[in-house]
């Protein structure tokens, strides 16, 4: 199979894998078939979905390097954009169904609750990465594009902290996710060390 065909098929799989659960989720939620509190369910589902997709996006490069399958890098952008889509739904769910468009409450929650502040920061950074994924902008930005997109290493840590701080007592899952994030960053140990030194020297 040609690499182009492989990329095409992978992209089809990614579209289906990301969209079907989302459509299913809202179909159930609109029909009140998502448990007693659909609001909590949609917020948790899209939140953890965004985190999963971020982890998958960040594992593409290490996998491509380890398996020497360079064509895999062609699906990174699509995965990243779906991570952003889930994050956007997560925020919209919180704003419209949990907070129910109470502007003052939304602002005070973002301001006063560290885990929501951090979540919002991650969301804004992710927005910047998504907008600059347009080819035209990418070309215009030249070298600074890569610099900006290195921010994804910070985003994954912010998201891990956001999850950890949001739970009431069950810490196993947040700690597991934290470990996954750290593992993916360790794959890039040399690059991150270089970035760190060049920023502070």
């Amino acid at each position: 199979m040609k690499n182009d065909t492989k990329v095409f098929l992978l992209k089809v799989l990614i579209h289906l894998g990301a969209l079907i659960p989302l459509v299913n989720l809202y179909f159930l939620a609109f029909n009140d078939k998502l448990g007693a509190d659909p609001v909590e369910s949609v917020i948790h589902f899209t939140g953890i979905g965004a985190f999963n997709l971020l982890l998958i996006t960040l594992s593409v490069t290490p996998i491509a390097q380890l398996t020497k399958q360079g064509y895999l890098l062609n699906v990174r952008r699509l995965l990243g954009l779906y991570a952003y889509t889930y994050a956007l739904f997560h925020l919209v769910n919180f704003l419209s169904f949990e907070i129910q468009f109470d502007g003052a409450l939304f602002i005070s929650e973002v301001w006063k609750r560290p885990y929501i502040t951090i979540g919002m920061a991650a969301f804004f950074l992710l927005t910047a990465l998504s907008i600059t994924s347009i080819n035209k902008l990418k070309r215009k930005m030249g070298k600074s594009w890569q610099q900006l997109h290195n921010v994804s290493y910070i985003i994954i840590l912010l998201v891990a902290i956001h999850f950890y701080w949001s739970v009431k007592s069950e810490l196993t899952s947040p700690l597991f996710y934290f470990a996954m994030a750290i593992m993916l960053l360790l794959f890039r140990y040399k690059k991150i060390k270089r970035l760190f030194l060049s920023t502070f020297n």
Binding site: A29, F30, D37, P38, F97, Q100, Y115
Partner: protein, 338 residues
């Protein structure tokens, strides 16, 4: 005298398959590999049909049986819009059966409530132990339609059935040293999977313990509940007997109680031990004292409707029961004693 002469075919007691073995027969078959062989032979369609008729989890399918109760109706609160029964019994925080809201329903249906023993002891003149039947026949039962406010900022309206804790305490005659009333949930990791598995149990320390000041316990609103919506409690709601303290956050209303002890000193309580800055001993519903990680000023009231029900309402001090209970806390700084 009847002499029973067994023939070759008569089954003896020891031949009867143990119920647990019977219920697990399919997984036993699976382990022996028989099902694997039959699956190869049968077509996809028949195996789907089999899954429908003889599912692996026969035990899960057997729903816990609740019984109808005799009680007097709560006519004063009839106007309150109640949370539908199917939501009340499917959205539960009962970490003994799993920390996710839907797990208690899924993992508790085999829970055995009879025989049950509720021991009331400590600083009192007549310690007693109630058995399962006593829970519903010792006191006349009444319906109480109460708002329940969870510390997670959602709420329900539930028609409980039960009797005043005060009536029970009067029976045991607390002495002058009794300043606090401590409660304890059953500890039985065999029946409560959350107690056996730290991850499922959300990292709580079991058995779950809670406590009230004696004057809070004697307040007329404080209810020992044995039922809801006209029937005995299902396990996920705290069968066979639980506490309901409507002016406090839900975690104070301890479930499946086996022990009540009158004490001179303040005992430890489960959530307070786990995170003292987030969950106080009093845990009175208070819109002016936020949880460190979320606002308590308003709540989502779970009634009918799905995603689009506009159900965010202002939270009331003492969950709207200030008239009955505010006096208990006269002169106390409620933001320090949260």
């Amino acid at each position: 005298m009847l002499i029973n002469i067994p023939t070759k075919n008569t089954l003896k007691d020891c031949n009867v398959t143990d119920e647990s073995v019977y219920l697990e027969r399919r997984s036993l078959l699976k382990k022996m590999g028989f099902l694997g062989a039959s699956a190869v032979m049968s077509s996809a369609i028949t195996s789907t049909a089999q899954a429908g008729f003889f599912s692996d989890d026969d035990k899960e399918k057997v729903k816990f049986q609740t019984k109808a109760l005799n009680f007097s109706k709560d006519s004063t609160n009839e106007h309150l819009l109640r949370t539908p029964e199917n939501k009340v019994i499917s959205h539960n925080n009962f970490y003994e059966f799993g920390a996710q809201k839907d797990q208690p329903l899924a993992l508790s249906q085999g829970f055995d409530v009879a025989p049950w023993q509720l021991k009331i002891s400590g600083e009192c003149d007549n310690p007693i132990t109630l058995d399962y039947d006593n829970l519903t026949n010792m006191f006349p039962l009444e319906e109480r339609i109460y708002r329940l406010r969870c510390v997670e900022a959602w709420s329900m309206v539930i028609p409980w059935i039960g009797f005043s804790l005060a009536d029970l305490l009067k029976k045991v005659a607390p002495n002058s040293r009794a300043k606090y009333v401590a409660f304890e949930t059953l500890y039985d990791p065999k029946q409560m999977p959350g107690q056996a598995d730290r991850r499922l149990g959300g990292g709580l320390i079991f058995p779950y313990v809670e406590a009230l000041r004696i004057d809070e316990a004697m307040n007329a609103l404080t209810l020992m509940s044995v039922g809801l919506y006209g029937k005995t409690l299902p396990p996920q709601n705290g069968a066979p007997i639980r506490l309901v303290v409507p002016w406090k956050y839900g975690f104070k209303s301890i479930k499946s109680i086996v022990g009540i002890k009158l004490l001179e000193h303040k005992p430890p309580t489960t959530w307070n031990k786990l995170a003292p800055k987030e969950y106080g001993f009093y845990a009175n519903v208070n819109p002016n004292h936020d949880h460190p990680r979320w606002s308590q000023a308003s709540e989502r009231s779970i009634t009918t409707g799905g995603l689009f029900s506009r159900n965010r309402v202002a939270t009331l001090p003492f969950n709207g029961y200030g008239e009955e209970v505010a006096d208990l806390y006269k002169g106390m700084d409620l933001s320090r004693n949260f």
